[in-house]
Amino acid sequence: MNEREKILTRIREALKVPAPSPGTHAPASHLPVPGVPGLPSLRVPAPTTAAPVEARRWLPKVGPGFPEQLALFAQNAADLKATFQIFANWTELNAALVQLRDAENWQRVASHQSELSSQACAALQRPVCWTDKGYDVLALESCDVGVTECDALIAQTGSVLVTSRSAGGRALSVLPPHHVVIARREQLVADLPAAFALLQQKYAPEFPSMMGFITGPSRTGDIERILVLGAHGPKKLTIFCV
């Protein structure tokens, strides 16, 4: 028998004794311990299926309409110390990008080839390190900013949902010191259940190898619980929406 079989056999053997229902904390929920004699024997019917995860009803509340969700996203982003702005058109967004470029003196930009990010890079007029077809890590590391698209913005948490397909791979959104996300307003979803539904719908069964929620710039509190941004990932997260 190999280790896989040995472990699975042990599991099956262990599961022959049913466990009490979870979260009851009632005395009746206690079962005999194998190998310890003289203890009470009491069986409790176990739930046959797990409760449906209707997380939406219990998670923090999100308003039904776009304006409320947008306001919630903006509030969450501000709490997370991310920058969020929504623009009426591309001209305004491009102008804001150029302003940011000049304020932070960006020399090199990293990005991936897709509609929104390419458009943004065109406006920035700086040399671009494209990650799509593989890249030199040192070159990416030396860029001042990583510009990506995303899969969704989540109002409930102020998160950006990215995948290795939507955001130019795994490193682009974490290696450069500033991550700029370009999104469309239609990409705003209400909550985490909606985000997971979107991932299923968009990708299943061939999911990207990396899918992740980015909730604010990289942070740590490991020194005296004092918040410091940019522990390893980006110090700044900017979300521009059109």
């Binding site: 896989r4 472990i7 699975l8 042990r10 599991i11 262990a14 599961l15 466990a19 009490p20 979870p22 979260g23 904390h25 929920s29 005999p32 311990v33 310890v36 004699p37 203890l39 176990a46 739930p47 995860v53 997380a55 219990w58 998670l59 923090p60 509340k61 991936h112 990650t131 593989g134 040192l138 590391e141 948490t157 998160s159 290795s164 397909r165 791979g169 795994r170 490193a171 985490l192 997971f196 539904a197 299923q200 190898s209 990396m210 899918m211 929620f213 909730t215 710039p217 990289s218 942070r219 740590t220 509190g221 490991d222 020194i223 005296e224 619980r225 410091v228 522990a231 390893h232 990932g233």
Partner: protein
Amino acid sequence: MSTNVAQFQEAAARVTADTRQRQFIRTALGNYEIARDKRKAAFQSWESARQAAALTKWEAVNHLDTHLEELVAKLEARGTKVHWASNGTQAREIILGIVAAKQAKSIIKSKAMTSEEIHLNEALEKAGFEVVESDLGEFIVQLRGEAPYHIVFPSMHLTRGQIRELFARELGSTSSDSPEELTMVARRVMRHKYITADIGFTGGNFAIAETGMISITENEGNARLTAALPKTMVTLIGIEKVLPKLADLALFLPMLATAGAGQPLTCYNTMYGGPRQPGEADGPEEWHVVLLDNLRTELLADAEQRDALHCIRCGACLNVCPIFRNVGGHTYGTTYSGPVGSVITPHLRGLQDWKHLSNASSLCGACTEACPVKIDLHHHLLHNRRNAATEKPAFLERMGYKIFGIIANDPLFWSLAKKFGWLTQPLQKLVMGTALDPARAWTKTRDLPPLARQSFKDWWKHRP
């Protein structure tokens, strides 16, 4: 007295005597509690969420075999190499084998309690590999040659001044003691490591059976980088980490963040489904997932305490535990400290050697109340005590209880015992708190209340 309990008592006495350090820890965990309560209040129903999380984990753990098989089939279908390890030795051998086959020199690690559990760093270093912990807190305790103080906040026991001195000594940094500057020192050191490391090592918070994914929760981005840059990725994860559905994360990710650190959501929550796939820009060429049993199946076999495998390692029970708050993490001498550590360590490392952790509790239940997946923690401490006493009773203690039982509920004996106590009380007062005092464990720091001249029962008997 076994050495473990003696060490525990000695460490507890030392830490509790350090009122400044205790205050430091209590303040930190008190602030955490404020943040957590605020986030909990934002839930429409935290209690319903807990119940749902407990049910989901119950389903996962009580059908662990089928979920694991699904997980592994899905992982392998995307080109991930899955390994099974029955114990720590096997897990270390598997990982050392991968590292050697890749002719790796350096390994960058993101935080993983499983690796602490199997003492992976020591094994890798002994075999001549450079291992760097990338999580800031882990990096700090690694530089100090210490175990993590807390499963979520590894370096919470240190002041910024101590960290500045450590960085000056070990890294030659000239940073001030501002947390910002110190963090940037670590950032600079680590950047180079990510780029040059041959192997990226991670743990995992959840394994999704439905889609064959490992979900990793972190704040710093170190796990993201660890899983992005090195050519080979290795993930070590306990077999109990399985969740049935991808959508279960919609509940578990915010609950983990809320219960663990008082955050709405941790900064990076990332699901990995395979090595770099065709057409993708980057990612490891190879991904090895090592599934670790290491006596988890023993705990699984104890149906009464099986729910301890629901644990998502959020640290909430440590944070609220008045024992942990006063003795700190290192006193436990275990990988998993605090209430959940006291529950599971006897299963993982021997009941008789570690039962003292179950005894070292006032059974106040703050842990059970805090647990986001409703593990019956403090009652399991009681169950460990029962199992230990049933398996190997202490002769004197058992006799003491037998005699006490006979005396206490016999009106004549009980009345005589009270009389005897009342008469000998003046003698005890003479030696109160000294080595001669039979009640010294109590009286060293506390006065004993006097026995009443007329007990309640005497009053009741003689009342008109």
